[in-house]
């Protein structure tokens, strides 16, 4: 048992560079999620860890052991596939037993009929059967052992795939979007089961997903990837509250973060949507600044306050306890989404001009390249911009 260390891993397919110098330290027993849009290279990275793909450069260590060039079966890693990849002609028991059969039985011992007659085979087979039923019992599929995968529901197949990975007791579990083929209700349930499984086994889990909810709920740490690069590695709450890149801020959070464009007036002052924000930001006068506003970082403006931006209401979505109000805002890309508690939205009409108060401490600033501009002291005072 040891941590996994990835350093400088690159991979290209033809002229496309899928992974660019990926380096990452994963602690022993950690639940790490690799989150990113499709095509960002997250699955390729997982396959390189499993040994199913070979990186062009860089190296991978599991503890002190270098994994590069080792065949998948010698890496002490197990993988759960998005499609489950169960062998359709084998029973559930056969599927779960296969990794052990391949490891413990010699080729001639695996032969049908003849293999069973060879000395030693019976004892090994018995031991394998015992472990299969132990794993199946732990996953609650012990009554399905004689079924074929085609006779199982999605959730049951998922458990069999996990069982096939568990039975080897690997040092690292790799999971490639394991929940994306399940319906919404089952996904929530299986999410909880995977979390529980991780807690029980205490093994390192590396979990690839494009679903931010899975990433946020399951992980100790989240790796956000885009375009073959790691954008940020952080705890789930920090990924949301303290993103280091505009792409991270945009990918994480639902509804999506609102982006409004501003200009540097001079050091310490940004002009945005008719306001002049005093911010601890240094940049050339006239530089483009992108301001990220989470939907809950806005509230209805208090009467008489002047830290107010206003826009026309275009859409009202009731979500139960909360209401998403979509507002047309000058300078914003697309509609601005504001999350308001239900009791405060009773009077709001479509087409109405809504005044919104900024919650200054919760604004995120990015430069024109999308890099986060950190502010030591956040907005202290907002003044109406003097026109003319």
């Amino acid at each position: 048992m040891a941590g996994l260390s990835i350093s400088g891993v690159s991979k290209g397919f033809g002229s496309v560079r899928v992974l660019k110098e990926i380096s990452l330290e994963i602690e022993d027993g950690e639940f790490l999620t690799i989150l990113g849009p499709s095509g960002c290279g997250k699955s390729t990275l997982l396959k390189i860890l499993a040994g199913l793909e070979t990186q062009d450069s860089g190296s991978i260590f599991l503890g002190k052991r270098q994994l590069d060039g080792l065949r998948p079966k010698h890496r002490d890693v197990a993988m759960v596939f998005q499609s489950y990849a169960l062998y359709p002609h084998m029973t559930v028991a056969g599927n779960i037993a296969l990794p052990l059969r391949m490891r413990r039985l010699k080729t001639w011992q695996r032969l049908p009929l003849l293999g069973a007659l060879l000395p030693g085979t019976a004892a090994i087979r018995k031991a394998i059967a015992a472990e299969v039923s132990r794993v199946a019992a732990a996953l609650g599929i012990d009554r399905l052992l004689d079924r074929k995968p085609a006779q199982l529901s999605g959730g049951q197949r998922q458990r069999v795939a996990v069982g096939r990975a568990m039975v080897r007791e690997p040092a690292v579990f790799l999971m490639d979007e394991p929940l994306s083929n399940l319906d919404a209700k089952l996904r929530v349930q299986m999410r909880a089961e995977i979390k529980e499984l991780h807690r029980r086994l205490g093994t390192t889990f590396i979990y690839v997903t494009h679903d931010q909810t899975e990433a946020m709920t399951l992980s100790d740490r989240v790796v956000v990837m885009a375009d073959g690069e790691i954008l940020q590695v952080a705890r789930p709450q920090d990924i949301y509250a303290d993103p280091c890149d505009l792409r991270v801020a945009e990918f994480v959070g639902s509804p999506k973060i609102n982006i409004i464009e501003g200009r540097m007036h001079r050091d310490g002052l940004i002009d945005v949507a008719g306001l002049r924000l005093p911010v601890d930001v240094t940049a050339a006068a006239g530089a483009r600044i992108l301001i990220g506003v989470r939907p809950e970082a806005l509230g209805l403006a208090e009467p008489g306050s002047n830290d107010v931006i206003s826009g026309r209401v275009r859409l009202i979505e009731h979500m139960g306890s909360d209401v998403f109000v979509h507002v047309e805002m000058p300078g914003a890309s697309g509609l601005f989404v504001v999350r308001l508690p239900l009791e405060r939205t009773s009077g709001i009409q479509l087409g109405e001009l809504l005044e919104l108060g900024l919650r200054p401490g919760q604004l995120l600033f990015f430069d024109a390249d999308g890099r986060r501009i950190r502010t030591s002291s956040s907005v202290t005072r907002i003044e109406r911009r003097a026109f003319g």
């Binding site: 596939f81 990849a85 062998y87 359709p88 995968p149 096939r164």
Partner: protein, 318 residues
């Protein structure tokens, strides 16, 4: 298929129409099934004229002593069938056919699978190898049979010349009772190989890559383990289909026999379809020929039913 889908379409339609549409729905109730039957009519007519009626005719003729061209005939019951099973020519012909099928089917399946696996394992020239192996299946058999005749010629043929150059025993391949059936079977394999290969290639393409990757991780990464854990089981449905189709084609062997050997030497290459042809059209014993046809039909139908049964029960995974 068509009448039943027409009726179900009508039911769905009736369910959506309310009282306001009562008038149209009454008309629909009659016109939709009629339309459905009209659509089915051309196909049903062709099937009846070209297949069902001739089969019925065969069964009827098989119980008569009709000779082709003769103006009168009388019913003789099962006499033709008794004669068929008592006839030594038929027995030889039947056994030859079985031997032929038993060589052609495993040979075609084995070689077809091997070539498909080799082509699939190679990155380059796939299209070329696919094409050259598929060509014999496309070519006109009468023409290729003549080419084979040249190749197998006892003195001028390339086969004997090559064999003697290599110091191997030569033979008069098509005129020797011992070699004629295996040689014809070899030509049969050559001819069906491309068909089996193309189907196996399609089957191989349909195997999800995930399964091979799972097998790699599970430790089944040698060629034998990959083959036995993933490739062969996943090819089982397509293999079953190939076996039955190749078996039926092998049972139907006729052209090579008619062109190359005419069933000879002696009766060494007499097969069912050739016997049938000879009895019906050379000796003009149409009633007897029809009885042979019924037996032949029985074999083909049994094979097809066996395929359906096995497919449903054993090799259908999803």
């Amino acid at each position: 298929m068509m009448p039943s889908s027409g009726i179900s379409g009508h039911a769905a339609h009736a369910a959506t129409s309310g009282p306001a549409r009562l008038k149209t729905s009454v008309i629909d109730r009659f016109s939709e099934p009629i339309a459905a039957y009209l659509f089915v009519l051309p196909g049903a007519a062709l099937l009846t004229i070209l297949f069902i009626l001739p089969v019925i005719a065969i069964f009827v003729i098989a119980t008569t002593n009709w000779t082709f061209g003769s103006a009168n005939l009388s019913f003789v019951g099962m006499r033709n069938f008794r004669e068929v099973f008592a006839d030594s020519v038929f027995r030889i012909s039947f056994l030859n056919t079985i031997v032929y099928v038993l060589i052609v089917v495993p040979g075609t399946i084995g070689l077809g699978l091997l070539i498909a696996l080799l082509i699939e394992a190679r990155q380059s020239l796939r299209g070329f190898y696919r094409a050259i192996h598929f060509l014999p299946f496309m070519a006109t058999l009468a023409a290729t049979a003549v080419a084979w005749e040249m190749l197998l010629h006892p003195t001028m043929g390339l086969v004997n010349q090559a064999f003697s150059a290599l110091g191997l025993p030569t033979a008069n391949w098509l005129r020797d009772e011992k070699t004629v059936l295996p040689v014809l079977a070899f030509i049969g394999i050559w001819q069906n190989l491309g068909f089996a290969m193309v189907l196996f290639l399609a089957g191989l393409k349909a195997i999800p890559i995930d399964l091979y990757q799972a097998a790699d991780i599970d430790g089944a990464d040698g060629w034998f383990d990959r083959l036995s854990a993933v490739t062969l089981p996943m090819l089982a449905p397509v293999s079953m289909f190939v076996v039955v189709v190749v078996a039926i084609r092998a049972f139907e062997v006729f052209d090579t026999i008619a062109i190359l050997t005419q069933g000879g030497p002696g009766r060494a290459s007499e097969v069912l379809l050739y016997t049938l042809y000879r009895e019906s059209f050379e000796y003009l014993r149409t009633g007897y020929g029809a009885a042979v046809t019924v037996v032949f039909l029985g074999i083909i139908v049994t094979l097809t039913l066996a395929q359906v049964g096995v497919m449903e029960k054993r090799v259908h995974y999803a």
